[in-house]
Symmetry: C2
Subunit: 359 residues, 2 copies
Amino acid sequence: MLESTVAAIRPLDETAMAAARELQGRLTKPAGSLGALEPLSVRLAGLAGACPPPLPEPATVAIFAGDHGVHAQGVTPWPQEVTAQMIGNFLAGGAVVNAFARQAGASVTVVDVGVATPLLVDPAADATDPAGPRLVAATVRPGTRDMTVTAALTRDEARAAVETGIRIAGELVDAGAGILLTGDMGIGNTTPAAALVAAFTGADPAEVTGRGTGVNDGTYARKVGVVRAALDRHAPDPADPLGVLAAVGGLEHAALTGLVLGAAARRVPVLLDGVIAVSAALAAAAFAPDAVGAMVAGHRSAEPGATAALRHLGLDPLIDLGLRLGEGTGALLALPVVTGAVRVLHEVATFDSAGVAEK
Amino acid sequence: MLESTVAAIRPLDETAMAAARELQGRLTKPAGSLGALEPLSVRLAGLAGACPPPLPEPATVAIFAGDHGVHAQGVTPWPQEVTAQMIGNFLAGGAVVNAFARQAGASVTVVDVGVATPLLVDPAADATDPAGPRLVAATVRPGTRDMTVTAALTRDEARAAVETGIRIAGELVDAGAGILLTGDMGIGNTTPAAALVAAFTGADPAEVTGRGTGVNDGTYARKVGVVRAALDRHAPDPADPLGVLAAVGGLEHAALTGLVLGAAARRVPVLLDGVIAVSAALAAAAFAPDAVGAMVAGHRSAEPGATAALRHLGLDPLIDLGLRLGEGTGALLALPVVTGAVRVLHEVATFDSAGVAEK
């Protein structure tokens, strides 16, 4: 499934992009006055192969959750049980991602690809409200191994997680989603994200490791050392993205790589959240460079690795407000900007049709 | 009306702000992980005097339209008739501001405070759809005078425009608006905006004059010279905001000053659009420094004067995407961020209520 998905990812449609550029020039506004929204609308036309491209509706946030063996190295002050507890919070609708999703009219799908501790969720609870958050049980293994000791995952496990993401993307698109938003939950997951960013961009671990949910100086120094030790141990080859994900990745990172690939293959835009998402997007771009055409950078996370990854991908984020929460919150804040960029091509009058003089 | 409005503007409520800070610390997210949204939510609690503050709903964009005598100096390639034509476009729902307002669920009120050429709008047309854009005829005079020759407005005219903005703010709040968004239309209006920014911040005209809707090098040089000539002629006193607005302002700038003051007096947030809005906000802050507490900077316009004004006001914009369209478009793009910031205080579970462990 991975190979066929990668093979299905194609470049943007130049004809549709040219049509979108031409249409932007006829709308009742000065040329270029919508700034970054104009090239975004052009790119989404190229992805859809149509001008105007469809409005990115409905939207779904796919939150992939996993735990991390590297938690044992003391890279975060949060107990590992919080991953499972926050899944309960997502399914009860009480997290920030739920509040933002309700506001944006987006649905929430939580995918357990590798939570280590028992979920405290009534399996029947999520069936009561068809519009409410949904849980998909897809555990590859209960958390990764400690990457400072051994590879986090076997290649087969990494592939299984990537293919879970591809499968979820396909199911969501089949169900009508017009855009996929990336979400994540996993205590400790900014540590493998930093390792992935360093592996794919070649940056030094000290440049791309951040304070995650807020670690003190001692924990931060240990975290940088852990990332460096893992990269030194495995020396992952950036030309082998499955190998990189297996060596220093996380199950949610690998699944998000698959979500991005699946969206790109189906030519549906994927709106990236923070550092977990963009580290996974680096792996997706290593599998299929044309997958970048389907990516929209929702926001610039406060994590330094996010900026390094976005630069490597050539993506400019839509929102830059110092968020560092994850869950999909930054992507959801950016969703109206994406929708607005496309809506302009659908709804704005031309100089000719509105009887407005040009300069 | 101006004096009583200014007198009614009070500082933020410290008790409500302390309650909002305390609540942010108990919600199921790492402290500070929502970045700029957290202090924004605290400030809006202080404005409302309540924690949580009300959701900023419903939203209304008030588009003030006027023309400019300085158009005769060749500061823009657009004919003056476009101001009136674009009002027709707004009322027909065909402009970008309409598309963004529909998406955001905001209503649109167009206020003619001084359009120079005849409106081509059927006066009955806007009555057919009660939810559609509305036109308010409130002409102070048909365009300002050329500020390089004489004062753009008399003090009485400037006051009448400010008081029109105050009146519109009151009517919109009385009708239930939970937030006011600033909009503007006026061919040539970035020239008086640059003059206002220079007058209030003390910046050199060359630093705060931009290319507006897109002028070439020759027109740009002429525009800087026009701003400099107007300031040299009138030497406006920044401690006398009515005098500054009269000397080098525009009718829509003066009315927006009033809208900001009216919103602040009613303790309703006002979401600022681009350089026209923030130049008017400088005048509002000169009338009443506490009015800044009601201001939210929607976006950073590509115009350099906008950045200078935001710095002077101490405001960080929510969106920074190179927009330079005006109309209220940048404010509308930022509206979901403001709503989301407040929604968190209403809807997100606490660690205690959700059974999530803390670090």
